[in-house]
């Protein structure tokens, strides 16, 4: 019943208070979960039956991801990416929570990216749950902690907790599922090194269509390190925004293809609060420090084609994939320590960037795959500053080649080379990177999503 009480409340006001959203979500969840009648457990198998041992412990698996890294260029790639024209890494984000000393990118030599611990189990007849913790050398990060409904009616499914958003196929995957060592450049630049990995709620719907169609809505808190960044502090002039700050939607559609072929198309968009604090060397008191507040809008599409003929060990299997992401940042200059800039207050910074990647992998021998990836970021790359000045920047490029050897379903070795040309203030910088990666998994045999 609660849903009928809550709905008019929301539609009656333009902005629901945070408490209302909570109430609405609570009501929705309670109604949906209990709407599905429980059914009696299945019949007991025959006495000949060979039942697996009863085990109420969660399934546990561990993935170890180690990388040897080498790069050749005038400047480390991770610095270039922070200074990339148009994509400048503002770090207006929740630095305090993420720890700014956290080094992004890889160090020369041996790296332990992380050790991923996964626990998964059915919670009860209504929910299943899992938790994934990425343990790094200097700490641990909670990647996912989710409960998900198992029996909502009408093709609905609700996910609550912290999770990788389904904002692009790539974003929903964990590092060990990637086809290359690193993320596509545009995902890394716009969504951050950890991707869009947020606390919130996701409601998705599998449509009763004669083809595959899933639609999803997500409401997320918005603590991402450089997207939907939120910085309001007590001494800041920025307004506090306590509600969920990101609203996001996606659609995945796939025709029913014959034989070994499969295609899936994804469309996604997001809008959220975005704030930036540009602090000078003296911090909040620096005469150059200024603060901006507004929104960021993202949209994108991806497509994947897979050909999986009935051969053993992945021989001749082919995956082709492409993705495109666009963002528009529209933030208003709210405060500036320099009084001369006072006339500009209320003007906006509008910044538009995009990027795409195209990649393919092919099983050229049993257990061996080769892959190529080409990327451009900044095809659209323009800023309009609060003073009305406009700037546009050249794009940056990266090409990658990899070979990997999947010894068994539980271990993989990979060799990858990247060659990038990055557009910075000082001009174009070229860097070559080399990776040797080893991924091992222990414990429960995990399933892999499409």
């Amino acid at each position: 019943m609660s849903i009928f009480v809550s709905l008019p409340t929301l539609s009656g006001r333009r902005h629901a208070a945070p408490g209302r959203i909570g109430l609405l979500l609570g009501g929705l969840i309670a109604w949906l979960v209990t709407a599905a009648p429980l059914r009696a457990a299945a019949l007991e198998p025959t006495s000949r039956g060979n039942r697996p041992a009863v085990n109420l412990n969660p399934n546990i698996s561990v993935v170890v991801d180690g990388i040897y890294y080498h790069e050749q260029g005038d400047e480390p790639v991770r610095h270039l990416l922070e200074e990339l024209e148009g994509f400048g890494h503002v770090h207006g984000g929740d630095d305090h929570a993420h720890g700014h000393d956290h080094a992004h990118g890889f160090e020369e030599g041996f790296n332990l990216r992380h050790l991923e611990l996964m626990f998964a189990a059915d919670v009860d007849p209504y929910f299943k749950g899992w938790a994934i913790v990425a343990v790094e050398e200097h700490g641990a990060e909670l990647e996912e902690a989710v409960i998900q409904t198992t029996g909502l009616p009408g093709g609905l499914q609700l996910k609550l907790g912290k999770f990788f958003s389904d904002f692009s196929r790539q974003n929903a995957m964990h590092a060990h599922e990637w086809n290359f060592v690193d993320l596509p450049l545009i995902n890394q630049l716009l969504l951050g090194d950890h991707g869009l990995n947020e606390k919130g709620v996701q409601l998705s719907w599998l449509a009763p269509t004669p083809f595959f169609l899933t639609l999803g809505l997500e409401v997320l808190q918005g603590d991402n390190e450089n997207l939907f960044a939120y910085v309001a502090e007590e001494e800041d002039p920025l307004p506090e925004r306590d509600d969920p700050r990101v609203f996001l939607g996606w659609a995945k559609v796939a025709p029913l293809l014959r034989g070994a072929h499969a295609v899936q198309l994804g469309l996604f968009g997001a809008r959220g609060v975005h704030q930036e604090a540009h602090l000078g060397p003296d911090g909040a008191d620096d005469p150059g420090s200024h603060w901006l507040d507004g929104h960021q809008t993202l949209a994108g599409a991806d497509i994947v084609y897979r050909y999986t003929p009935p051969t053993a060990y992945g021989h001749h299997w082919l995956t082709l994939e492409g993705g495109y992401l666009f963002r528009e940042k529209d933030i208003e200059l709210l405060a500036h320590n320099n009084p001369e800039r006072a006339p500009l207050l209320g003007n906006s910074l509008i910044s538009k960037q995009d990027g795409l990647y195209v990649q393919g992998t092919y099983g050229f021998l049993p257990r061996w795959r080769a892959g190529l990836r080409g990327e451009v970021v900044g095809l659209t790359n323009s800023d309009r500053k609060p003073d009305g000045a406009t700037e546009s920047h050249d794009p940056s490029y990266r090409a990658s080649a990899m070979i990997d050897w999947t010894l068994t379903e539980f271990s993989r070795l990979r060799l990858q080379v990247n060659r990038g040309e990055y557009e910075t203030h000082e001009g174009r910088e070229a860097v070559t990177e080399g990776f040797v990666q080893a991924v091992f998994s222990l414990g429960a045999h995990g399933a892999h999503r499409f």
Partner: protein, 374 residues
């Protein structure tokens, strides 16, 4: 299978058009009605109503939609369920069900299923959890009546190596070898389990499903033991003799001539062969053949030269003349070994070729033919 899927989809569409029409059985009928609905609603409304009435008058409810992970299970379900079910299989006969990818098509198939039947014993572990999760179909979640795990209804071979079990022994399945349907006695048990489950889902048709299971078992027994033996003793008694290893003695005592699969493989009993993967174990054990070695050094790892050299040595020492393998494994290592040992390579799937009601029998007959050779 694909035609089956589209049939099911056509029926679904017909239902979703809101005509109130519940298609009875065949895709063609549903198709015809769909055509009506398309043509013009007002003109054909009386016709549609008449169709709807005639359907409800006959009292046959919509067929149960059964989706299985492997075609063997689909074929058995089709035989047991007859006209009261529509059956599709996720894996096709030429595919290795262990290495499927969780494709969107599978999710759509699972979404519409009333009964999901899997082989179990971790055969589908790489993709089934995702498909069941994404299908959002409560009827077929584990623990529900619409979820049937075949491995819970047969004695599964553990094949646990000595000492502690670990992945150093390859992709071992801690819950046992999942290729159990190649033992016809297990197929009997599975047919009865499917019949019982269909009956539980649709009690008003229980008698029909039990009769379907009995008919399948009777036909299987006839092909396994021969008509003569079946005239002398009930199939269950023959199966019990076979399981106890006393079938030949019993037949000699009773002066009954055994025919069928059992008799066909009589010359091969006690002989050795080599397989690519541990997939024919149940078959060879039941029919008294012996798998001397696999070409895979451990399950899931392709053969290397050192292991092949050992296999060849053993084949020469023990005069093993047959390598049995599925089409989805690479042919090269088998040909390499065969060329140096004068062995014959027989390629045959360990899964039913399609989902027709008699496809399971054709599977067993194809394996027998492959073993016997030209």
């Amino acid at each position: 299978m694909f035609s089956k899927t589209s049939e099911a989809l056509v029926q679904r569409r017909a239902r979703d058009r809101g005509t109130g029409f519940q298609p009875v059985l065949h895709g063609q009928e549903a198709h015809a009605t769909r055509g009506f609905a398309k043509a013009s609603s007002s003109r054909f409304l009386p016709l549609l109503l008449a169709a709807a009435f005639s359907v409800s008058a006959r009292g046959a409810p919509a067929p149960l939609r059964v989706v299985t992970t492997i075609p063997d299970l689909a074929a058995i379900a089709a035989a047991v369920g007859g006209q009261a079910v529509t059956v599709t299989s996720i894996a096709q006969g030429h595919e290795n069900p262990h290495f499927l990818q969780a494709r969107p098509t599978y999710i759509v198939q699972a979404r519409d299923a009333d009964l999901w039947i899997r082989a179990g014993a971790e055969l589908e572990v790489g993709w089934e959890p995702i498909v069941l999760d994404q299908a959002r179909n409560r009827r077929i979640q584990p623990g529900q009546p619409g979820f049937l795990d075949g491995s819970a209804h047969v004695p599964v071979l553990r094949e646990v190596p000595e000492g502690p079990v670990s992945r150093a022994q390859g992709d071992v399945h801690p819950s046992g070898n999942p290729h159990y349907l190649l033992d016809p006695l297990n197929a009997r048990a599975i047919a009865r389990a499917i019949g019982a489950r269909l009956a539980a889902l649709r009690p008003e048709q229980a008698a029909q499903f039990e009769a379907g299971a009995d008919a399948f078992v009777r036909e299987l027994d006839r092909r396994l033991f021969g008509a003569d033996a079946l005239a002398a003793a009930p199939g269950d008694a023959l199966a019990a003799q076979l399981e106890a290893g006393t079938l030949d003695d019993w037949a000699a005592r009773q002066n009954v001539t055994l025919d069928g699969w059992w008799a066909e493989l009589a010359p091969w009993r006690g002989r050795q062969l080599v397989t690519f993967h541990k997939s024919f174990t149940y078959f060879t054990q039941r029919f008294g053949l012996e798998v001397a070695s696999e070409l895979e050094p451990v399950p899931g790892v392709p053969p290397g030269p050192a292991h092949l050299a050992r296999v060849m040595q053993r084949m020469q020492d023990e005069q093993i003349g047959l390598i049995l393998m599925e089409p989805f494994y690479p042919r090269k290592p088998a040909d390499f070994v065969a060329a140096r040992t004068a062995a014959r390579v027989a390629v045959v799937s360990s899964y039913a070729p399609d989902t027709q009601p008699e496809a399971y029998f054709r599977l067993i007959e194809a394996i027998i033919a492959a073993i016997k050779g030209p």
